[in-house]
């Protein structure tokens, strides 16, 4: 019984430990301000990168929508 309990505690401690990011042992001081700022700006840059990667598809989608739109309006005027 005791060993089971101990095992559970150990597992929990291990899990919590794993969930926490390891402290950074860097020989270079990244600078507190630079570190925090980087996380903010990188989030935005990451989003921008996603848009950039899918830009072709997004553009294609709009292009198709608009061409259908113009096609339809053309048909309507013709009719």
């Amino acid at each position: 019984m005791l060993s089971k309990k101990l095992l559970a505690v150990l597992a929990l401690v291990t899990l919590v430990y794993l969930a926490l990011p390891a402290p950074v042992y860097a020989y270079l001081d990244p600078g507190t301000g630079s570190f925090i700022f980087q996380m903010v700006i990188a989030g935005l840059a990451g989003a921008a990168l996603v848009i950039k990667m899918y830009w072709g598809k997004i553009k294609g989608l709009f292009a198709r929508l608009f061409s259908k739109e113009s096609q339809r309006s053309k048909e309507e005027t013709d009719a």
Binding site: V24, L28, G33, S34, F35, I36, A45, G46, K52
Partner: protein
């Protein structure tokens, strides 16, 4: 063993290892704590890819035999560098190419599960015309969630000086000579023109970045709880890359812009001078390995030296001339010329801790041959240097000297004297020869056709 080996003074920051010199060769000790990381660099295929595409210096493992301390894992011997140069000696495009190389390597490292733990411009050297990362121990294991530890350093070493050169003044790259860890971002932010606030990349990585640094300057904030996704890291690198790529500088209105057309050189005089330089170079035995062309302008005569097979460092004071020279060698794929910015009257000093982290110009010599073409009048008249001092300087930096004497009645000298009193009573060819003979033996001399100028080849008296 220790008495034969000497640790390189600049190599003390990184606990992963250090660089030392032994019997004239450069080695790098890798410490035990870096064992796994070095092995990952090799086994992941990252090393091979970087070597194949000429982005990282190659090395061979020479084993434990050469180790200097107890905690050693192994010793590697990197490929030999013909000449070490520093970011404050590079032109705009050289610094920009070095920045883009750093980002390219970081992107490839992330692909291989690694990351650059520093992004110092001093880790880049120009080898065979191209920038190369020379610090094999710059890699660490990438852990998902961790921000880029070298982000601040990248902005200070590359982005800030490039932006200042591009948007404010090309000469501001000299700030790198004062600030050894790169231009402080608050300083860069202050110096950059207001319109750079409307450039998204510069607004974020310099202006807002500087503000964040000031804001957190005295605060202790735990960064352990915060995570940054891999996608965010890739976004950050993409943004930095775009920001660097968009920075540009075009040389215009340079001092030497149309130098060759305004001197009293006729077409045939120029050809004759080139021919004389070529002959004086070609008849040297042994063939020189390292040539310093001082006052090289855009490198016309450096090309003659390079054609003879010598690694030629093409120095000029004018960043525009150096920029043109660099672009030309890039276009031609010329591997034996390295153009650098240098003010010979105030050459790069030894800087950093104990003046030893970055070597002075003289410590990086002597060269086998120095070319001093159309230079003497600038030193003697513009900088008031007596011939004795000029000869004494050349004695320290080269074994053989190819130097052009420009007489006082030459149009170029007259131009220098036009706005000042002629206090240079000793500026004549007889005094020139007498003073240089104190340190050199004159081996050859030849008048340059259609000019009053003379070309000399001299060899240092003690060999």
């Amino acid at each position: 063993m220790l008495d034969q080996s000497e640790r390189i003074p600049a190599s003390f920051r990184d606990p992963s290892g250090f660089v030392f010199r032994r019997d004239g060769q450069i080695y790098r000790q890798v410490n035990l704590e870096y064992k796994e990381t070095l092995n990952h660099l090799i086994t992941s295929g990252l090393y091979d890819g970087l070597i194949r595409d000429n982005l990282l210096i190659s090395h061979r493992d020479v084993g434990r035999e050469y180790t200097l301390t107890e905690n050693a894992y192994t010793v590697i011997q990197p490929e030999t560098l013909p000449f070490v140069s520093y970011p404050y000696e590079w032109c705009f495009s050289q610094l920009k190419d070095a920045a883009l190389l750093t980002l390219e390597i970081q992107l490839r490292a992330i692909d291989a599960g690694m990351s650059l733990k520093d992004s110092s411009a001093y880790n880049i050297q120009f080898v065979a015309g191209k920038p190369l990362l020379i610090d094999t121990l710059s890699f660490e294991m990438y852990e998902e969630g961790h921000p880029w530890v070298a982000y601040r350093q990248f902005c200070q070493h590359f982005l800030a000086p490039l932006a200042l050169m591009s948007y404010r003044d090309i000469r501001l790259h000299q700030l790198l000579r004062i600030y050894i860890d790169g231009v402080p971002l608050d300083l860069a932010s202050n110096l950059l023109p207001g319109r750079t606030h409307f450039k998204l990349g510069l607004l974020s990585h310099i202006h807002l970045h500087a503000k964040a640094q000031t804001r957190y300057a005295d605060r202790s904030v735990s960064t352990e709880q915060r995570k940054m996704s891999r996608l965010s890291l890739l976004g950050l690198l993409d943004s930095l890359k775009q920001t660097v790529q968009r920075l540009s500088w075009e040389p215009k209105g340079t001092e030497w812009h149309n130098y060759y057309s305004i001197t009293n050189y006729s077409e045939s005089a120029l050809r004759h001078k080139a021919q004389l330089v070529e002959e004086m170079m070609a008849s040297l035995d042994p063939t020189p390995a390292l040539v310093w062309d001082l006052g090289a302008n855009t490198g016309v005569f450096s090309q003659i030296a390079a054609r003879q097979g010598a690694m030629t460092i093409s120095f000029d004071i004018d960043p525009a001339a150096v920029e043109k020279n660099y672009r030309e060698i890039q276009a031609k794929g010329e591997a034996r010329i390295l153009p650098l910015v240098l003010d010979l009257t105030n050459p790069s000093p030894g800087i950093g801790w104990e003046h030893c982290e970055r070597a002075s110009l003289m410590e990086r010599g002597p060269a086998d041959v120095a070319l001093a073409l159309a230079l003497i009048h600038h030193l003697a008249i513009s900088n008031n240097l007596p011939f004795e001092k000029i000869a004494g300087f050349f004695r320290q930096i080269c074994h053989t000297l190819i130097i052009e004497f420009v007489p006082k009645n030459d149009a170029q000298v007259q131009k220098l004297l036009a706005s000042r009193e002629d206090i240079f009573v000793d500026y004549d060819q007889i005094t020139f020869e007498r003073e240089f003979r104190n340190f050199f033996d004159i081996e050859r001399q030849a008048p340059i056709q259609d000019t009053g100028r003379t070309l000399y080849r001299m060899v240092r008296k003690d060999g």
